[in-house]
């Protein structure tokens, strides 16, 4: 029983980090219908910014999130205004290709600034664990998971308890109606994009202390993140969290009870299986046009 509980804990901690990053991706899609392929690249950008602050100033990389998140938020806002906004009303395929290109550009820029050598952020607690009996809880994952929970709760409160959140939800569910009641859709979209990128940046700061990274590491992240948000139901914050936790647990349980060789493949198989039964994802909503033959 103990090994199972240990692997479950490791899966939950892994899922927590996935949830934080995936929430931004699904938020951006939910409001803007933009599938941000560059989301993983922004995560790695957050990791490099965190590394720079830690390396130069010696500040704790997790505490640095307070300082680095506004920076990544600002970058996200500028990127939206300059690059994404002009084609926001274009077909979804255009925004996919645009953010695909953006990911490649970001990778090249990061390689130019920080180089393509593997980078690690190792605060004093990076390789330490809390122990409860025979169980171990890696400190970095625990701290990262707690930060992910705080950010996700803050995001939830922002969306459900504030006027800005109402504006965001109104813009997501009925843009025309939202405009009629005075909501400026373009401003809301810019804010949402920046918030989404900021969550990727915060996730990057956490990922930086968990895994070594290079500019090209975003390839691994975006594949996982797309699978998670599709599993949860694109546009659903709760679905992203649920999908992330399921994905994390599936990875660890596969590594433990099937084979590490299948640890990255089995979660995708689960995604396929779920989509066969629920094409809209776990918490996505099925609409009438889904029932209409193409």
């Amino acid at each position: 029983m103990e090994p199972f509980v240990q692997n479950l804990i490791l899966g939950l901690l892994l899922g927590g980090v996935y949830a934080l990053v995936a929430s931004g991706l699904t938020l951006i899609f939910g409001v803007m219908r933009v599938i941000n392929i560059a989301h993983g690249a922004f995560l790695i950008l957050g990791a490099f910014v965190s590394y720079t602050v830690w390396n130069w100033l010696g500040f704790d990389p997790l505490l640095c999130i307070i300082a680095t998140t506004p920076v990544i938020f600002a970058i996200g806002w500028v990127v939206y205004r300059v690059i994404v906004s002009p084609i926001r009303d274009a077909p979804m395929s255009s925004t996919v290709l645009l953010t695909f290109g953006l990911a490649l550009v970001l990778e090249a820029v990061m390689g130019f600034i920080w180089g393509n050598n593997s980078t690690s952020v190792r605060p004093s607690y990076a390789d330490e664990s809390f122990t409860i009996g025979e169980l171990f809880l890696p400190k970095a994952q625990v701290y990262g998971g707690l930060i992910a929970i705080v950010v996700l709760v803050a995001l939830h409160l922002l969306l459900t308890r504030t006027w800005l959140g109402r504006a965001i939800r109104a813009a997501a569910s009925n843009p025309t109606g939202a405009q009629l009641v005075g909501i400026t859709i373009s401003s809301v979209a810019a804010l949402v994009f920046a918030i989404g990128i900021a969550t990727a940046g915060a996730g990057g700061a956490i990922a930086a202390i968990l895994y070594p990274f290079v500019p090209g590491s975003h390839y691994q992240w975006i594949a996982r993140l797309l699978a998670i948000v599709v599993l949860g139901g694109l546009g659903s914050m709760g679905g992203a969290v649920l999908g992330a936790v399921m994905f994390g647990i599936a990875e660890t349980m596969t590594a433990a009870y099937i084979s590490p060789a299948w640890a990255t493949a089995v979660p995708y198989a689960i995604v396929f299986a779920v989509l066969l039964v629920r094409p809209q994802g776990l918490l996505g909503t099925k609409l009438r046009d889904d029932a209409v033959a193409a």
């Binding site: 409001v31 890696p138 594949a223 694109l234 640890a263 609409l287």
Partner: protein, 417 residues
Amino acid sequence: MAPLLHLGRRARSGITLAAVAGLALAACGVGGGDDGSSSDDSSGPITIGASLPLTGEFSQPGQAAKQGYEVWREMVNADGGLLGRQVNLTIKDDASNQNTIVADYNALISQDQVDLLLGTFSSLLNLPASSVAEKNQMLYVEPAGGSPEMFTRGYKYLFFTQQAPVDRQGEVFANWITQLPENERPTTAAYPTLDDPFAIPTSQGIEDILAKNGVKTVYRETYAIDTKNFDTIANEIKAADPDLVVNGAIFEDGVGLIRSMLKADFAPQWLYQSTAPSLGAQYADAIGAQNTEGVMFAISHAPEAKTPGNPEFVAKYQEMFGGLPPEDAADAYASGQVLQAAIEGVGSIDDQAALADWLRDNQVETILGPLSWDENGSPEGDFLIGQWQDGQVEYVLPNDVATTDHIVMGWKPGDAS
């Protein structure tokens, strides 16, 4: 919370496109630049083409290999060039991707029309790249593709410029382990290994020797190349409680496994890893210098070695890039030396088959020591075994080339000063 957006059929079509794009991202790479162009003029510069993983998973050794090639070019040109002609390099970036590297080598041959080729890093990438070279009947001297699969295809233009193929990389270490006194010899071993044509035969070769000598295998698993989280694997290894862990690794995975073992508060008596520990300061930074004490690994090059040309290579590397050259830079430099020896031996670059025949018939002195090959281009020597001691790499085996007679008896994380 309710979904922010209800998705229709058209939206899901976009999602499908996004998923395809995501997969394409994982499968594609970015083309690289070049610093030269081919010339048909027999008195003009000789252009040598290569594609290296300058970005992506293998960017760490790929960048080092590029440095090695560049040092070789600088030294050759300063010495009058090859056959009196200056050497230009055309180096592309394959982004650690098998599809991209095929496109790159095809482009080097058909579009850039380079005169000669040099190889890339890792068996994973050299396998397809060497096929392109063989198909075009071009000599393919490569620094880092030692998987046995490389040499079972009957290729005539392929030559690997390290001391031995990877299934024999840990042979010296494994034989040394079997000769330890009984009270120091491990009785159980675990073999977590990257799913990679280099890493698998490396750990398999060690397991074969140890298993024959009574070291029981208690864990053998391969993990996928995109594995990021090693906590579960470390936990499973800890549960198996081996005396020795042999990790067939490249770099990030090796670092990840060690950090996860530390988090799981598990330190086996002995730790052997492939590749990662040979990357010097980058390895120490990644796992913490204090945790390197006693880690053992196979290595092809020692900066301190007195092999012909090695002091000059180390000095030039320091001048161009600073610090001591990593192993992958030295291996790439040795590839250049081998190519140079063949060209000077034949006296022409026109007949690539003649260059290959010359290499099969001759031994070449390199900074790695003398290299010779069998008919399939597989080298016939022995690797050095290195060990981290007090935050530095020492070469401990074989005895005749060791830089110290002291061997730290086991992995002792936290002990290095």
